[in-house]
């Protein structure tokens, strides 16, 4: 064992795909990172922030992040903007035109798709953006490639004068594999020269830039054909040839090993006609294995190639070696199971979650609730979830069509989501005069993505003090006259206030302020216990849906190890059976 240990390369590290991208940013001499958190992309930026050489920040949304990073590139610094797939929708406006302007220093956009929707509202395929915006896209298949492709993306960006998209998926972002790290290359800051025809995209200039974009794509296609490191052919048995990319490559390798040949694409846009035709000519039967939409497959078919793909494999969900075995080889796994019905375990609001009080009152009053993106999406009372900020604008539209129910309808949005894209919706409410009541659930952090700072928290990504932007002042500045703040655990006060605001024929905002229970700053000194003699088994405490409370013995039991003593259950109990206790020193 000792011998083996001595052979370990000190420069080899087990890194998360996202951490490997961050390492790539560091090694490539990147100086500026601006992102908005979104699973599965978040850790790229968190990890990048650990390097002193990189300025890294959370922007209020992806469009701002993109534009900030683009500005940094124009100024001459290598820059990066990170986001999840739906974040790229928000940043789509600058994305398309940045293809026309090109860059100064290298500019890379990291986008992470979420096939199977582990933590997303849809499973769109970001490759469509590369095609639509005419921007090259690289797709790594493990952490080593995450690092390598990040560095290469900067080189391509500067060589071809274009932004480059680095496309990840949940499985690549959140898998660890071995990478070889190296030193940072200090590339410095490039000279900035005013260049109207390149950077001012008024029609006269843009008309001249478009042909340049088309030419770049042709040049990139030639590059894709000639670069065997990025687009690699691995010949094994030539009876089956598989064109694949990203994690699908790993699954295909797992199933076929050397019993097939592979065209492993690192650049998924633009595709090389020459390379694909050459590979196709060498194999008997051609497969395309790609998650989500048939993009490579459609391209192959347009070239007149006979190819198997989505006729056998799904356009929905993540792939796996089991799926490929089943769909392409007809082999089903052998496995054990237990003779019992296993109840599902859906995600729930945490013990002590400040949203619990809010949703209890909303349910009690039987309101229609326009929801948004965040932990509160788990609230059982919400009627809708569409995208970041939609709660506010949808509330406006809903109330315009049904003014008679405006007093029974609210929108709920978190602090970070409000900063992201809630403000413009609020302006719509005021400007166009709907009597809407918006609830901002301010838990003092970006919760669902794992506790990122945001413009309201008073701290930056690098944990430096910042001006904490006041939601209340923003609402007032937008013209909302009725702005109230209340603790959501004070359910009596909140209910009274909500009824009062809903009855007004003017717009209102209620800020429900209480920090996320998982924050370290939230003390967990108290816990609730139940006096089983006083418990009447009425199950009133169950109305709040707290994961700490159970009725295994027929009486309420509170799991003291989970309970943080928020005391909401005590407010449900009419028999005084629940008591607050001080925890001893842990």
């Amino acid at each position: 064992m000792q011998d083996k240990k001595n052979k370990i390369d000190k420069n080899k590290k087990l890194l998360l795909g996202n951490a490997a991208v961050a390492r790539g940013l560091y090694e490539a001499g990147c100086v500026f990172v601006s992102s908005y958190p979104g699973t599965p992309s978040t850790e790229i930026t968190e990890e990048a922030a650990n390097y002193d050489e990189i300025y890294a920040e959370w922007a209020p949304n992806e469009k701002v992040a993109f534009e900030a990073a683009f500005g940094a590139s124009v100024a001459g610094g290598r820059s990066f903007a990170g986001m999840k797939h739906v974040g790229l929708n928000v940043a789509a406006d600058p994305l398309f035109t940045s293809a026309y302007t090109g860059v100064n220093a290298g500019f890379v956009i990291g986008v992470a798709d979420d096939p199977s929707m582990h933590s997303s509202q849809n499973e769109q395929d970001s490759r469509h953006y590369a095609i639509a915006a005419k921007i090259p896209m690289l797709e790594p298949s493990d952490s080593e490639e995450c690092l390598e492709y990040t560095k290469r993306a900067f080189e391509l960006s500067e060589k071809f004068d274009t932004p480059v998209i680095l496309k990840l998926t949940t499985r690549i972002s959140h898998s660890q594999s071995l990478v070889t790290i190296s030193e940072r290359e200090e590339v410095g800051i490039r000279e900035y020269k005013k260049n109207e025809s390149k950077y001012i995209m008024r029609p006269a200039n843009a008309i001249k830039r478009h042909p340049i974009v088309e030419q770049k794509l042709k040049d990139l296609e030639d590059y894709a054909a000639s670069n065997s490191e990025l687009n690699r052919i691995e010949y094994g048995d030539k009876s089956i040839g598989i064109i694949t990319a990203g994690s699908s490559y790993a699954y295909a390798k797992d199933v076929y090993g050397d019993k097939a040949s592979y065209l492993k694409l690192g650049m998924v846009y633009p595709l090389s006609e020459k390379l694909i035709k050459e590979f196709a000519s060498q194999v008997d039967e051609l497969y395309v294995i790609e998650e989500l939409d048939p993009i490579i497959e459609t391209y192959c078919k347009a070239l007149g190639l006979k190819v198997k793909g989505k006729d056998l494999l799904p356009v929905i969900g993540e792939y796996s070696q089991e799926l490929i075995k089943s769909k392409l080889l007809g082999i089903e796994p052998e496995f054990s199971s237990v003779d019992a019905t296993i109840p599902v375990r859906p995600p729930v609001m945490c013990a002590g979650c400040p949203h619990r009080g809010t949703f209890y009152v909303l349910k009690k009053l039987g309101l229609t609730v326009m929801g948004d993106i965040g932990c509160y999406t788990l609230g059982t009372q919400i009627d809708t979830t569409l995208c970041m900020g939609a709660s506010v604008s949808m509330l406006h539209g809903f109330n315009k069509v049904r003014p008679e129910t405006a007093s029974k309808c609210v929108g709920v949005i978190g602090d970070s989501t409000f900063m992201h894209s809630g403000i413009t919706g609020l302006i719509d409410i005021i400007y166009n005069n709907s009597f809407s009541t918006l609830l901002v659930l301010d838990n003092s952090i970006t919760g669902m993505t794992g506790h990122q700072q945001n413009p309201c928290t008073g701290l930056t990504l690098k944990n430096l003090p910042a001006k904490a932007i006041s939601i209340e002042e923003i609402c007032r500045a937008c013209g909302v006259e009725n702005v109230e703040t209340v603790d959501p655990n004070n359910i009596t006060e909140f209910e009274k206030l909500l009824k009062a605001e809903l009855s007004k024929d003017k717009p209102s905002v209620i800020i429900l302020k209480r920090p996320c229970a998982l924050l370290k700053s939230v003390k967990k000194e108290d816990y609730v216990s139940v006096d089983s003699d006083l418990c009447s088994s009425c199950r009133a405490c169950m109305r709040i849906g707290c994961p700490c409370i159970s009725f295994e013995t027929g009486k309420a039991v509170v799991d003291a190890s989970q309970c943080i003593g928020c005391g909401l259950c005590m407010k449900m109990c009419k028999f005084g059976a629940m008591k607050l206790n001080k925890r001893g020193k842990v």
Binding site: S175, A250, S320, P333, I342, V344, T449, S550
Partner: protein, 191 residues
């Protein structure tokens, strides 16, 4: 040979650290290793699973473990052991905590937590090693180290030298919590 270890539990139980320790054990041997994690929404008290795969001979291709592929399941909770059982190889081994955490459908009375799960799995013919990792962790003064207790229990049955695991724990746990975690490991190892 590729070895596949599936770690399952309930969001918040510390499966990330457990998978990182196992990953560290494998890379300390110079083996190709992949660890697949779960972040985001499912962490909020949902059913979570992570995969650790390593190969002492070649490369690990896919980072995921599918049904019938796991050599070992390490589980923090009984119901999750049963849920992920189909992922175990026919002759695979289970290392599980006997802890029960009721999912919301059980709490709200819409479903029943099945009885005697571990006994039923044993009747299937699978080797099951168990301890109450939470009680052991509580006795050590911090319920959060239940994950490392379970890693200790697995270590004993893993075929690796104990010292290799201890080194991995030292590598993965912050200095501040190291002493407690080493105690937790020992307690699991001797459980």
């Amino acid at each position: 040979m590729t070895k596949n270890i599936l770690i399952c539990g309930v969001g918040g139980q510390g499966s990330l650290l457990a998978s990182r320790i196992l990953g560290q054990v494998a890379i300390s041997q110079g083996w190709d290793t992949k660890v697949s994690e779960v972040h985001g929404m499912s962490q909020r008290g949902g059913s979570v699973v992570t995969y650790v795969k390593y190969s002492d001979t070649g490369k690990v291709a896919s980072p995921v473990i599918c049904r019938g592929e796991a050599d070992v399941i390490i589980s923090f909770e009984q119901l999750e052991t049963a849920r992920w059982l189909p992922f175990l190889k026919k002759d695979g081994k289970i290392v599980t905590s006997t802890q029960k955490i009721y999912p919301m459908p059980v709490i709200s009375g819409n479903a029943v937590y099945p009885e005697s799960l571990i006994e039923k799995i044993r009747e299937n013919g699978n080797v099951v090693v168990e301890c109450n990792a939470v009680d052991i962790a509580k006795a050590l003064g911090n319920v959060k180290v239940a994950n490392v207790v379970l890693i200790g229990l697995y270590a004993k049955h893993s075929g690796f030298d104990k010292e290799i695991f201890l080194e991995a724990v030292r590598e993965c746990v912050p200095e501040k919590f190291l002493e407690l975690n080493l105690k937790a490991f020992e307690a699991g190892y001797n459980a």
